[in-house]
Symmetry: C2
Subunit: 656 residues, 2 copies
């Protein structure tokens, strides 16, 4: 296939995607709204097929529990999850023009332009940085012109160090950088307001009173966490298990560019795999252990390098680079999924998050990054969210979100316990009694041990209950007993950890476009999207040689046969030449073409054409449809799929 | 089947739906938010299966163009479509308690309670009104107690007349009724604020400046209209054609009750069929013309009756009751779809909208209504939106949203035309010139005829340009010519009309639950959901008789076979009795069970059980799976599907 041998031409791809209405800016006749896109028929079908493969590859294969939760989410839930406080970017406003910039992007953009200007002034060659961050290319255009100004060596070093750490700065730190290095509006140089935090959730009010504040969910995960107990019950209390959800999420980007790669409304597919924190092995790990992947660990990145390590997932887990089998299992399964739907494996790497860039809930995280003309793009995240979410929701709602398991054999434990003499305790502390009691009951084992000693030594304990207005209290030893007791436990109670593979479908879809796009060497105007048959929007184009009545019965026969197998097809009976009709469908990624000619009427045979090679074979309608079915849905190769059919030499396509 | 013979018990169904996690209130551990629900695994699978059948029945079968448009929609678009001004309900606030009521529901509720009290006072029997509006039953509970107070005959008549016309009152009219009849908070009797208009769209701000006001879409239709030109182009300019979209829409209900029937976030499936306004015939109408349906026309309703007319869609169209073939075609196709997915055809009618209840964009509308314990529920709307939407968006954006068709033969037309002498016209009107010109160019044929006469008689025309500050102007006849001209037209340009079938998936889903729910006569605790195999969440339950190792190979063999055919199944290898395991799955609507016993190991045979009849047959794994496949996906009946298998007498299920 010629895809990887050619230099990729983004303009050419964009023009195909637009011309064939894969997608388009939403509300375009109203001038559009940045970060919002509509999918046209082929884009919509491709998306549906990718989702379908995802559902089979993950949900059906692993018996996951799919749920569909609401997007509208009340404030309280997202306050607890941390999103109200932490799901934010820093923005700077130009008070004169009203323009708003994302602070980190702005600093990158301006410093990179200055570094480029410096090289120009020094007469050095300016290389196109190969591994660019996803949006830099587009953003760079905002800097009006790059001025060839020489910088001191020390300044160059400072700039480079800022750029290397850009994901780790707080808002105030970025403000200091902007002031120190005089970074303003890149178009005018005018100063900007210092960075302010901007929450990226879309806010709305639920109900007519306007008092119930809500947001559009920033991820589908929260709905799954909130239903944890129902899901565990549905799963007959068996652990581990996974829930999954496919649906739209929202992110009010400050100034989205880069097409489908940074949008305000996007389709996500998320899995929440609930696992025992003390046993993160995976029963099916052996089935993937030999899958070879490219890893970019945090150690390598911290050393300032980007050289990937190629090794099997089995090695990666046993060496400790990937923390545990469950995380490793999903990393490998993500790889297998992406390759199946058309991602070029040479443009796929797994990058570990560095600790300063991790989301607020994550404990460890590996991203599947896909290489595109915008740089390496994060398309799938695979995070270990630990017990964070279940713990905070349980604490807030006082609902138990945990697993109770019968211990294989009873366990004898020694524990300090605090016993309260209620009859004396209540009268002494009156209205404060419940708070004092709660404080006593929430002491850790260590604290209880200390208190027991204090009680023994002083015959009383002295304490100040935090977060209350209760003055320092004394509890004499006739009110409480704190003693070590021996108990037999039959049940183990724990909050599961969560491993979360989270897919951005739109980003994956766009990357597949880039990975599968090429133009025919003999004519660069003839573009091809080599989408795998499994996900191609339409599988077969039916091309009757002419509109002559005599061809109709065969056409109908082919259509009926395709319908029986539920293979999506289109008929093109326009008057355009056969070559033109195929060229149109090469751009749509249609993998097969069936030509019906006058010979077909006589012997029920048709010609089958393959999109990438333009090779043709001939056989009966039944055999041809059977071949299409095997290649499309059973993963059979073209060569094997058509070996019973007869090679067919046609005139070259251009003459057709 | 026993479904229709039993009295329906809603409490019993609700308890099954909750116990099996078909759906649950969203954010339940936070106390829930009314009108928001999450679908658990079986509800989610059922929904996905219904959507899948919908996609095949409509989109694939008719080659519709599916699109996926954004939910976030800028203000301007929904201002133009009329939703900002007209998508509203009237609400009344209790200033003391803060409670908010929907005005029409409130009036109904209070007056019905009074009429009931009157009957009680008169000692008349109070019948349960059979055909209740969808939410009355629940709402009635709000009236604290029904007081037995006798009303004058004249008052009874007034109340009844108000109730009959309740859908047609404006907000101020409802205010008058509330004042006149002293209608207040039903729980306390306290007076309420007069009705205020409340827009039902969720509002939000797009982007960080907060200046771009947006809404969550109230329907998926607008995205399809805005992409009309791209879709027409994609369809190679061929007419008629349809687009379709499946996605969430939002409606900020004032006080939603009635479970899945009135929610704030819901899945819709909408078709926009674009058709020539001068030819609304449908090429495939003959294929459905004999489908027999129940119609409730607006004439019958206006006569105060609810007796349906049973007739074929062919008759309904030729008699003019249904306006045209395209509308009729979709009505019949909607019927076929609903019955296929499990709607009871005896609980399905098509009701025509009366003119005072039609949405602001609709010209004619038929609802598919399903009968449930909440009354007759609108589940599918089939509206003729005429050219309304395309016209208003085209006018607002100045983009052409129309079809240009070559005329079969050129047409000679005589038309008045206005010719402007630009050289003199510009200098005379200066900055006003463009507006005067626009005004001249937008005159109708009639107006031009009058102007031509005025110009001839007075040698000038006098005019006031509306909506401008331009003072009255005079245009002398050396600046313009208005004359009748003969032209040959080759192209016809028109704005298509839109026929819109619009499906509320959640309402359909709930109605199917009611239509397919029953309890076994021998034990009312054993509930069954007789979902059609095609849409049932899981198709097969695999029940190994014991966990004995020897059964594992056969179990694996059955699983592999089912996977090959992509038939969704579950294994229940719990220690519960076989009867209990089947009972659990009867509640989940699982149509088939396969029992694997020790005979299976010897001869590869298994027992197949049918959910509704509990009949059992026995055969080889291959034959049993083949039978399941034919019955589930090919519409074969149980009797035909298993006729090659051997009837199997087991002990009764309770003993198992």
């Amino acid at each position: 296939m010629s895809v990887t041998e050619q230099e990729f031409n983004r303009e050419s791809l964009d023009s195909v995607l637009k011309r064939r209405f894969f997608f388009a800016p939403a509300f375009e006749i109203y001038g559009g709204v940045s970060g919002l896109y509509d999918y046209g028929p082929p884009g919509c079908a491709l998306q549906a097929n990718i989702v379908d493969v995802w559902r089979k590859h993950f949900i059906l294969e692993e018996d996951m529990l799919e749920v569909d939760c609401t997007m509208l989410t009340p404030h309280e839930v997202l306050k607890t999850s941390g999103h109200v406080d932490k799901f934010a970017d820093w923005m700077c406003r130009d008070l004169k023009t009203g323009e708003i910039f994302r602070a980190d992007h702005l600093i990158e953009e301006v410093l990179e332009a200055r570094l480029k200007g410096n090289k120009e002034a020094r007469g050095e060659k300016i290389e196109d940085v190969e591994e660019e961050d996803d949006q830099k290319k587009k953003r760079k255009k905002k800097v009006k012109e790059i001025k060839a100004i020489k910088l001191d060596d020390s300044v160059v070093k400072e700039y480079e160090s800022i750029l290397a750490m850009i994901d780790g700065f707080s808002g105030p730190q970025m403000g200091e950088i902007m002031t120190k290095y005089n970074i303003g509006n890149p178009a005018t140089g005018e100063p900007l307001e210092l960075p302010k935090e901007f929450n990226l959730m879309f806010e709305t009010a639920i109900g007519p009173s306007g008092q119930l504040k809500g947001y559009l969910r920033p991820e589908t995960a929260q709905g799954q966490f909130l239903n944890f107990s129902k899901l565990l019950d549905f799963n007959n209390e068996k652990m581990p298990f996974a829930s999954a959800s496919i649906g739209k999420s929202f992110r009010n980007e400050i100034s989205p560019r880069a097409g489908l790669l940074r949008v305000r409304e996007f389709l996500m597919a998320e899995i929440e795999h609930f696992v025992d924190p003390e046993d993160k092995s995976h029963s099916n790990f052996d089935s993937v252990k030999d899958v070879k992947l490219s890893f970019l660990s945090k150690e390598i990145q911290q050393a300032g390098k980007t050289d990937v390590v190629e090794t099997t997932i089995g090695e990666a887990v046993s060496s400790g680079m990937v923390d545990n089998q469950t995380l490793g299992y999903f990393i490998a399964r993500i790889y297998l999924f992406l390759v199946k739907i058309g991602v070029d494996p040479t443009k796929l790497r797994f990058r570990q998050h560095m600790s300063n860039e991790m989301a607020h809930y994550a404990q460890d995280c590996w991203d599947a990054e896909l290489k595109t003309s915008y740089g390496w793009i994060e398309c799938v995240g695979c995070a270990d969210r630990s017990a964070y979410d279940l713990t905070v929701h349980a604490a807030r709602t006082k609902e138990k979100l945990c697993v109770r398991q019968a211990l294989p054999e009873p366990k004898i434990v020694e524990k300090f316990e605090c016993e309260i003499e209620k009859k004396k305790f209540g009268p002494k502390f009156r209205k404060d009694a419940p708070k004092v009691e709660e404080w006593l009951n929430s002491r850790t084992e260590c604290e209880l041990e200390d208190l027991a000693k204090e009680l023994k030594d002083n015959l009383k304990i002295t304490a100040k209950i935090p977060d209350t207005s209760i003055p320092e209290i004394e509890i004499p030893n006739d009110l409480i007993k704190i003693e070590k007791k021996t108990r037999t436990e039959h049940i183990r109670e724990f909050t599961p950890n969560v491993i979360e593979p989270s897919f951005g479908i739109g980003r994956i879809l766009y990357s597949i476009f880039e990975h599968s796009f090429w133009t025919r060497p003999e004519d660069s105007a003839r573009c091809v999207l080599s989408l795998p048959p499994l996900v191609a929007p339409t599988k077969v184009l039916l091309v009757p040689l002419s509109n002559n009545e005599t061809l109709q019965p065969v056409l109908k026969h082919v259509k009926d046969k395709l319908k029986t197998y539920q293979i999506p097809f289109k008929v093109d009976d326009s008057s355009a030449s056969i070559g033109k009709r195929y060229a149109r469908n090469d751009e749509l990624g249609t993998p097969f073409g069936i030509t019906i000619d006058f010979d077909s009427v006589d012997d029920n045979s048709v010609t089958l054409r393959e999109r990438d090679s333009t090779k043709q074979v001939r056989g009966s309608v039944e055999d041809v449809v059977e071949a299409i079915m095997s290649i499309t849905y059973k993963g059979v190769s073209w060569e094997d799929g058509v070996k019973h059919l007869t090679p067919f030499e046609s005139k070259t396509e251009d003459d057709e």
